[in-house]
Symmetry: C2
Subunit: 218 residues, 2 copies
DNA sequence: GCCACCTCTTGAACATGTTCAACTGAACAT
DNA sequence: ATGTTCAGTTGAACATGTTCAAGAGGTGGC
């Protein structure tokens, strides 16, 4: 019962994540986590401010998994479309273990006040990990992404991943088929648009978009 | 206490919506709604399956308000950009009353299983009301929107509104300034892209996009 | 009149996230 | 040794969404 217990905090963390994976969010009560970890309910709250904070730990795990899955692809080069496609599909895979309860978890994540929100301070580590992947997607692409886009594109692609995840949540198809179809279609479209962005006719639209992104970010 | 009480159901509904508006989602307990309405707690559950279903009623109200706000604009004609801009800004205004608690409500709405989700069967009336507005935005625009886009664009714009709302939720700026800036920038960008979509160079990208939309919708 | 049925209503009971006052025990100062 | 402090721990208590067995009251059949 106290074998792998380096310290109480990480023991509770590990217990919670296991239960989340096995039972989902709602079915994993704080009492169950505490009991399974062999501590009192209140103790879990001493180490984690809320259930959301435990979910946030789960997101961190998923993001680490995602990063590990795409390491080889990112190092291998390739064009923007194939890199983006691979990274987005890998994110679907990384979430795959939680597919049954995916909607529950993303629900928690989208709550603006939630610690598990991708925008929350508590998620900073997971967010930066994930955003770094898309920076690599862009910077390592050959042929190179046009200079003008290189600054903002990674963040836009990261947002696109959040969109894909949101879609995935509502996607009841087996094996997330529809979500994968979305990625298969969207990645080449992004690649094509990035290539087209060099054309003079599109210069205005591209400038508008970049200006909008910069304005809105502040 | 029983003055304006046509029937219990609508009395509970009205009471709940008032409390939601005044106190927000979390602070409005089912007990408070029932007590304020002068019925037992369980009675509220007889008429509304869950608290989410009451929130869904609130969304219906907001959507009706939105539709009323844009009636004149839609009847007046104008180009796509100005029509889209007006309708999106009006949606920000319609949600304005709930700005303080906006994040709470949208949180509820985004939960996939939730009755308040824009995609839920329970929200069908609100959804169709809202989607119809964007069909009008597109169909009533002069110069006319290219034939090829007229089918899918309304739904895409409706999704864009959901995106704007999601942004608004995370937008802490006074008067939702950043959200309005997003709309002010995005509407002309959409207008410009729709105009450009006629160009032969973009034909491929447009076809890809439309194909993607059709594939993914199923 | 009486019974069966059905809609509507009640309020106690339940499960769960969260809080909190009290307790433990180790580290440290005197 | 003794006292002090404080991070860590406990479990009962609380608030709230939700459920449910019980009943009220009306309507129609006989």
């Amino acid at each position: 019962m106290a074998d792998d217990r380096l310290d109480t905090r990480s023991h509770i963390r590990a217990t919670a994540l296991r239960l989340f994976r096995d039972r989902g969010y709602a079915a994993t009560t704080m009492r169950a986590i505490a009991e399974e970890a062999g501590v009192a309910t209140g103790n879990a709250y001493y180490h984690f401010a809320s259930k959301d904070h435990l979910v946030q730990e789960l997101y961190l795990d998923v993001n680490r998994d995602h990063a590990a899955r795409v390491r080889a692809t990112l190092d291998a080069g390739g064009d923007l479309t194939s890199r983006l496609r691979a990274v987005l599909l890998a994110s679907v895979d990384a979430f795959g273990d939680y597919h049954a309860f995916g909607s529950e978890f993303v629900t928690v994540a989208i709550r603006p006040g939630s610690a598990a929100s991708p925008f929350s301070p508590a998620s900073a580590e997971a967010r930066e990990l994930s955003q770094a992947l898309y920076r690599e997607v862009v910077d390592g692409a050959t042929p190179a992404v046009p200079e003008a886009l290189r600054g903002e594109l990674p963040e836009l692609l990261w947002l696109a991943q959040l969109g894909v995840t949101l879609f995935w949540v509502h996607d009841g198809s087996p094996g997330a088929r529809r979500t994968r179809a979305l990625v298969e279609g969207a990645a080449p479209l992004v690649g094509r648009l990035v290539r087209l962005s060099r054309l003079p006719v599109l210069r205005g639209a591209v400038d508008d978009l970049l200006g909008l992104v910069r304005t809105v970010r502040a």
